[in-house]
């Protein structure tokens, strides 16, 4: 190995090390992601007549989240769901869900979530605390959110995926219809989002 070749090799390593260092410092900054609605899902399930589970989803929603890996406490999420987009695969049931027996979408067209605190549990899990507002009622909500993966989409944009499952009591939001035996009070919600780096 000539002296000239060794010098060049060291120079390349130096450049790579500098690039790697700057990359790490970029990753350490809080990064904002916009929720990709095409590759994100909000589904819910509720027990029907104390027998089987009925599933539904919301088709229209938006939101952003900030990921701060160095200081997870600076991370945050906010989401807005179009209550009118509820979809259970049955038009009559969807109409019923939109009216005052359930979501009352004409008065309360949006369901929102705004985080207030994020706490790291381990490398792939954080605990998110925040306020869920539905039908004009705001209640605190805590959910464990798991990192499901990172990558790049077909346009070369950085993407990141998270999933969470939590349970709410609909009666706490004034959705009392059918509580006495028709539909369970507990509704399990699963949110799986893919975010595109902004």
């Amino acid at each position: 190995m000539t002296k000239r070749f060794r010098t060049r090799l060291w120079a390349h390593w130096a450049i790579l090390a500098t690039l790697a260092g700057s990359w790490q410092s970029v990753q350490a900054q809080p990064v904002t992601y916009r929720i990709d609605p095409v590759h994100s899902f909000i589904i819910f399930r509720v027990k029907h007549l104390n027998t089987g589970f009925a599933y539904g989803r919301f088709n229209t929603f938006s939101g952003t989240f900030v990921v701060d890996e160095r200081n997870p406490g600076n991370s945050s999420i906010q989401m807005e769901i179009d209550a009118n987009s509820v979809d259970t695969g049955n038009q009559q049931r969807d109409d019923h869900l939109r009216n005052p027996d359930f979501f009352n979408v004409r008065q309360f067209p949006k369901i929102t979530f705004q985080s207030t605190r994020v706490r790291k549990i381990n490398d792939t899990t954080v605990e998110v605390q925040g306020n869920l507002t539905m039908r004009g009622v705001t209640r605190p909500l805590t959910a464990r959110v798991t990192l499901t993966g990172r990558g790049r989409n077909q346009r070369g944009q950085e993407i990141i995926g998270f999933e969470t499952t939590f349970t709410i009591r609909r009666s706490q939001f004034g959705v009392n219809y059918g509580l006495n035996g028709g539909l369970d009070d507990e509704v399990r919600v699963t949110i799986a989002v893919e975010g595109i780096r902004q």
Binding site: Q92, R98, P100, G136, V137, N176, N180
Partner: protein
């Protein structure tokens, strides 16, 4: 306890409470003016609380105003009782009162952007005037003795429940409407036992105001179309035919034929058509 049994128990409890006030008012002639409307308010709010729970005040959900308007509308019921003697007081007092009452539940639809301010104001004025007119035309039914007047109002409640359930797709509004009819329906039993019993103008006027409120709520917040709303309103004019001064010289059973037929044939037919359309479209979904 099954849903049907619960509804019957709820309707029975509310009916008995209303009946106590009505019988007391009917016996103490001077108190009839006050107790007639109060009986209806007590009965309706018992119903509401048992079906949907006691609402907040002021309500977050605008559809909960029905509970509070039964109390806030009480002066309208009392005004209806003296309306025949003080026409101008009734005309202006009740009209302005009805307009104000309809602002409360429907203002949120303007605030949420569902209605533009112009459309919202037009609806509120329309609902207020329609309620006032129906109260004015129907109040004389409260002076009609016996079972026919409560029977017609109870039938209207049944038709209304069917339309709100199958057309408006709101089970809770349908339940409230049907059980409101059932509360007044206790007057049929009392009327059969005591042939000179009258409901009083206050109870009838307030019932009609609550019907219009429930239909307007189903149109504003649920799926009741403008056509279905108009049909319900026209059907609600039928019971007033029974008390029409021009027909007073005819016996009760003759006066009963036209409004009864309208409610049974047109109202029943409309509910039947809604039921067919609903079951055809819904697959196996029957609420819940």
């Amino acid at each position: 306890m099954s849903v049907v049994l619960q509804s019957l128990w709820t309707a029975g409890l509310a009916s008995v409470a209303a009946a106590v006030f009505w019988l007391l008012g009917w016996r103490l002639r001077r108190a009839h003016l006050w107790l007639s409307a109060l009986g209806l308010t007590v009965g309706f709010t018992i119903l509401y609380a048992r079906i949907l729970g006691r609402p907040d005040f002021p309500p977050i959900d605008a559809t909960q105003w029905a509970f509070w308007l039964a109390w806030l509308g009480l002066p309208l019921g009392w005004l209806a009782g003296i309306g025949a003697a003080y026409r101008w007081v009734w005309a202006w007092g009740a009209l302005l009162g009805a307009l104000w009452l309809f602002v409360l539940p429907f203002r949120p639809l303007i605030e949420s952007g569902f209605w533009t301010p112009t459309v919202g104001v037009a609806y509120i004025v329309g609902f207020g005037v329609a309620a006032w007119l129906l109260m004015t035309l129907s109040a004389p039914l409260g002076d009609e003795p016996g079972a026919p007047a409560p029977l017609l109002i109870a039938l209207l409640g049944a038709v209304s429940a069917g339309m709100l359930f199958y057309g408006g797709k709101s089970a809770s509004l349908a339940q409230l409407s049907g059980t409101l009819g059932a509360v007044v329906g206790v007057g049929v039993l009392i009327g059969l036992l005591l042939s000179r019993f009258t409901l009083g103008r206050g109870a009838v006027a307030l019932t009609m105001m609550l019907f219009v409120l429930l239909w307007a709520t189903a149109h504003g917040f649920a799926s009741l179309t403008l056509g279905q709303l108009a049909l319900l309103y026209l059907l609600a004019l039928a019971p007033a035919l029974y008390a029409l001064p021009a027909l007073q010289r005819h016996p009760a059973r003759v006066r009963l034929i036209a409004p009864l037929m309208i409610l049974l044939v047109i109202g029943g037919g409309a509910v039947g058509m809604q039921y067919r359309a609903y079951t055809t479209q819904s697959g196996d979904y029957y609420s819940y």
